[in-house]
């Protein structure tokens, strides 16, 4: 609802207190807004930002799951002298060929929506954090005794920041192959690149530690998104927590399997 014009009482719209006036005003403003503008306007509200947070979160969860499953090609080793994960990478880049030019489908249907989801997620987080900080005002002067809020839920913004920083490193390391980050990088040779990168112990620790942040983040996110989107049914509510447990564990274990494979010399 748009802000009321000055002069109208804010609140006080109980039965018989100018309710008719309010209604008339509401209907005239509503006719003028297009459906698209209205839905877009929802993002201006905090609740709307939570919807955006949850929907972009779903896209990002789908991505981490897909990425994790894709990584498992590492364990298929080589076939006819070509590493299976190299073929998988090439498969992603040549999606839609020969109907579409190489990498077009990858960019338009995967990387672009993913980047958009990241940006929306980060913007909503940023602006909600600011609004929440403002809503607290003066802090409690004595220590709080939290009962339900857990480490994951209370560190969402920090685990989020860690994931973004890790992502930047990861893109420079194994996607773009920035010389300073991964001097052994050779385009298209996914297997050799990751074996080289994870062979450096500080990098190995970085990759392993980042999974902890990711795990906490998606564990809270995978349950919280149901609340934000209002997916609620007393019969199924307990499965929301179970889903979050299973999903985040599967993703973290799957991702960790690659550095572990390198450490155990299974991947070399």
């Amino acid at each position: 609802m748009p802000p009321l014009p000055a002069g109208l009482p804010r609140g006080g719209n109980g039965p018989g207190c100018g309710n008719g006036r309010m209604e008339a005003m509401a209907s005239t403003t509503r006719e003028r807004t297009s459906k698209l503008a209205r839905i877009g306007g929802v993002y201006r509200t905090d609740t709307g930002k939570k919807y955006a947070m949850a929907t972009s979160g779903v896209v990002l969860l789908a991505f981490v799951l897909g990425h994790m499953i894709g990584n498992l090609h590492v364990f298929e080793g080589a076939h006819d002298g070509v590493y299976r994960i190299d073929e998988y990478g090439e498969g992603l880049r040549s999606l839609g060929e020969p109907l579409f030019p190489r990498t077009l489908v990858l960019w338009v249907f995967l990387r672009l929506p993913l980047t958009a989801a990241f940006l929306v997620h980060i913007h909503a987080a940023w602006s909600l954090t600011r609004s929440n900080k403002a809503a607290r005002g003066a802090k409690y002067q004595s220590p709080r005794n939290y009962l339900a809020a857990n480490y994951a839920s209370r560190t969402m913004r920090w685990s989020g920041v860690i994931v973004v920083l890790f992502l930047l490193w990861h893109l420079a390391d194994l996607t773009i192959g920035v010389e300073a980050v991964n001097p052994g990088f050779r385009r298209g040779e996914v297997y050799q690149n990751l074996v080289f990168s994870l062979g450096r112990w500080p990098v190995w620790i970085l990759y392993t530690a980042a999974q902890a942040a990711l795990g906490f983040h998606i564990w809270h996110g995978a349950w919280s998104l149901f609340q934000s989107l209002g997916v609620n049914n007393p019969r199924f509510n307990r499965f929301r927590r179970i889903f979050a447990n299973v999903f985040s564990t599967a993703v973290v274990v799957g991702f960790l399997s690659v550095p572990l494979g390198v450490a155990l010399d299974v991947v070399r």
């Binding site: 109980g14 809503a135 607290r136 005002g137 004595s142």
Partner: protein, 247 residues
């Protein structure tokens, strides 16, 4: 038992405020927390000092007036209990108890432990009512309501508006309170005429004052009336539907 109290004292909205320490000797376990404050206040008055100001009314857990942050927990250590129904047997001899007012930007401190909860009235004004014609009460079973629906609505209606949810929330969000009110009326047939307008107005009024929900679940644990976090999901869904329907 003998207790040490560290109570937040603040002379007015603009005063900086700070903790002051008081001794309470010979406290009975059968006293309520508010009675403890009464006893301390009598001592203070006898000594010629200002008594501690705190909100209270019914003292039987149904009015929502009282509410203190006791040892970092809204309404103190006992679950599903308002401050007035918290008995001193929950504490043990020699304990130091820290008492603070609710803290939220929307709830400025008026004095000591008393905060101004007017924003809750604003949320109710925005839609927490039904436009039923007045007159004699209609026959109770004139409008059939399924048992499950009336039970869920009744559970939501149990909210006494004490604001412990806001006090406990790390984001100072009032979602549990607002959701309880929205869900209570939106579920029942009597609430249908204003259903979509109600959720829009109440949510948007709430957002003028309070933070957003990050599903910590602190509010649910602090709530003396066990209002469920599920209500928030229902409110979020109704708000989205209201925006799409544009009624």
């Amino acid at each position: 038992m003998d207790l040490t109290l560290r109570v937040w004292r603040q002379r007015g909205p603009l005063d900086e405020g700070g903790f002051e320490t008081y001794q309470a000797a010979g406290v009975s376990g059968d006293m309520s927390f508010l009675e403890l404050l009464d006893v301390v206040n009598e001592q203070l008055v006898t000594e010629g000092r200002e008594p501690i100001a705190f909100d209270h009314d019914c003292r039987e857990g149904i009015c929502g007036s009282c509410g203190l942050m006791i040892d970092g927990r809204a309404h103190g250590p006992r679950a599903s209990t308002a401050t007035c129904q918290l008995h001193m047997r929950e504490f043990s001899d020699g304990d130091t108890i820290v008492v603070e007012p609710w803290r939220a930007a929307a709830f400025p401190i008026i004095r000591d432990l008393v905060v101004d909860r007017t924003p809750f009235d604003r949320i109710i004004e925005a839609g927490g009512y039904i436009s039923a014609p007045t007159g004699s009460a209609p026959e109770a079973n004139l409008i059939p309501v399924p048992k499950g629906t009336s039970d869920t609505a009744m559970d939501a209606a149990a909210c006494i508006g004490c604001a412990a949810c806001v006090a406990a929330c790390p984001n100072s969000a009032a979602h549990l309170f607002t959701a309880a009110k929205v869900v209570h009326l939106n579920l029942l047939p009597q609430g249908q005429p204003e259903r979509w307008r109600r959720v829009e107005r109440m949510v948007e009024t709430m957002e003028e004052y309070f933070g957003s929900c990050t599903s910590h679940g602190e509010c649910e644990k602090a709530c003396p009336k066990d209002i469920s976090l599920d209500n928030i999901a229902v409110m979020n869904r109704d708000y989205l539907q209201a925006k799409i329907r544009n009624r």
